[in-house]
């Protein structure tokens, strides 16, 4: 499914931007038009952990116009095996401020809004309203389901990526067209635990896939994962694409039509 969106205006690129993004502008079907769409787009990344750090870093590198980052707490030792926007020097300091600093080192043109909180019932509506696309990287299902509720209500695309151990999942939600998270699981699973086994290379791999989904959605090229769930088992390098279906009785999106 190719997503066609027409609500991004296309600001001109500066000479510096043309030079910076020259090699990706060569990508067929992306081109300068795609780069201008990225420049004009805003993306919400919820939590800048092992997954969200890489999503944000790749989007900053690709020239996204604005990132909205939501992540509470301060940097801990146990973050540093995977949360690539956090540094040893940032231990004990705000995670989102560490993320802001690293992202601006890479791309000083980037606009960044930060919120030193995780997604809650109180802030979800406002956070989603500021973004063209949402990337869901939270370690708690409660946060994922809250975001899902808001993106469906506001009809915004959301890339949902997640991992556990050596496995990862990713799908893209286009409200009214593809299944939403509530279609797949209306409540958190019983077996999920807040702390989980993780290599940074696993969360980073699915973070790169998530960033690429965002780029395709915004720049209107390629095929997204709407209606598809990709599962990756990096223990044996098995990748599968599973066709997923909407729940006709979904309490969130059953009444939405494309």
């Amino acid at each position: 499914m190719t997503i066609k969106q027409t609500d991004f205006s296309d600001p001109e690129l500066t000479e510096e931007e043309r030079a910076t993004y020259e090699w990706q502008i060569w990508v067929p079907d992306f081109g300068e038009a795609g780069q201008r769409r990225l420049k004009n787009a805003s993306v919400l990344v919820t939590r800048c952990g092992g997954l969200g750090s890489v999503v944000a870093y790749e989007l900053a590198a690709a020239g996204i116009g604005k990132l909205i980052l939501a992540h509470g707490g301060n940097v801990k030792h146990s973050d540093l095996n995977r949360q690539l926007l956090m540094t040893h020097a940032g231990l004990g300091k705000s995670r989102v401020e560490s993320a802001r600093r690293r992202l601006l080192e890479l791309n000083p043109r980037l606009q960044i809004e930060t919120l030193a909180e995780n997604v809650t019932q109180q802030n979800a509506q406002s956070l989603v309203s500021q973004a063209d696309v949402v990337v869901d990287c939270a370690p708690l299902f409660e946060e994922r389901l809250l975001l899902n509720q808001e993106v469906v209500a506001q009809r915004k695309p959301m890339v949902d990526c997640a991992m556990y151990d050596m496995e990862a999942h990713i799908t893209t939600i286009i409200p009214g067209k593809s299944p939403c998270l509530n279609c797949l699981y209306p409540a958190p699973p019983r077996m999920w635990r807040r702390e989980f086994p993780v290599f940074g290379a696993v969360s980073g791999m699915v973070g790169c896939l998530g960033a690429l989904e965002v780029i395709k959605i915004i720049a209107c090229f390629g095929e997204t994962l709407a209606g598809k769930l990709v599962t990756c088992n990096l223990r044996d390098m098995t990748f599968r694409t599973i066709a997923i279906q909407r729940d006709p009785n979904c309490s969130h999106c059953a009444n939405l039509h494309s």
């Binding site: 939590r47 952990g49 092992g50 997954l51 969200g52 990287c137 939270a138 370690p139 708690l140 299902f141 994922r144 990526c161 997640a162 991992m163 556990y164 151990d165 496995e167 990862a168 999942h169 797949l184 699981y185 209306p186 409540a187 958190p188 699973p189 019983r190 077996m191 999920w192 989980f196 993780v198 969360s203 769930l229 599962t231 088992n233 599968r240 694409t241 599973i242 066709a243 997923i244 279906q245 729940d247």
Partner: protein, 92 residues
């Protein structure tokens, strides 16, 4: 007919296996498969996969080949088919 069942992520840890093959009589459906699994792994399946009221529990996606079966458990099984019980994850 023989059906291979695959388990992902945390279900692998809970069951201690990543797949198993089970023999079913012709005409069996997805519901028969889940009931059979409940007989084979009663504690784990009732707690995490399939309730005592024969309902799939939240967070488990039942996939037939490369297609999510949804909640329709009346779909017939096919000889040699691969079924995946996929446990959704939230790690970041």
């Amino acid at each position: 007919m023989k059906i291979r069942i695959h388990y992902t992520t945390q279900l692998k840890s809970v069951l201690g296996i990543d797949s198993e093959e089970i023999e079913f009589p012709p005409g069996s459906i997805l519901l028969d498969l889940l009931r059979q699994l409940k007989q084979m792994h009663p504690l784990e399946v009732e707690q995490y996969i399939f309730s005592s009221q024969d309902v799939l529990l939240p967070g488990v996606l039942l996939c037939q080949g490369d297609k999510h079966a949804g909640h329709d458990l009346s779909v017939p099984l096919q000889d040699g088919e691969e079924i995946t019980l996929l446990s959704v994850v939230s790690g970041g």
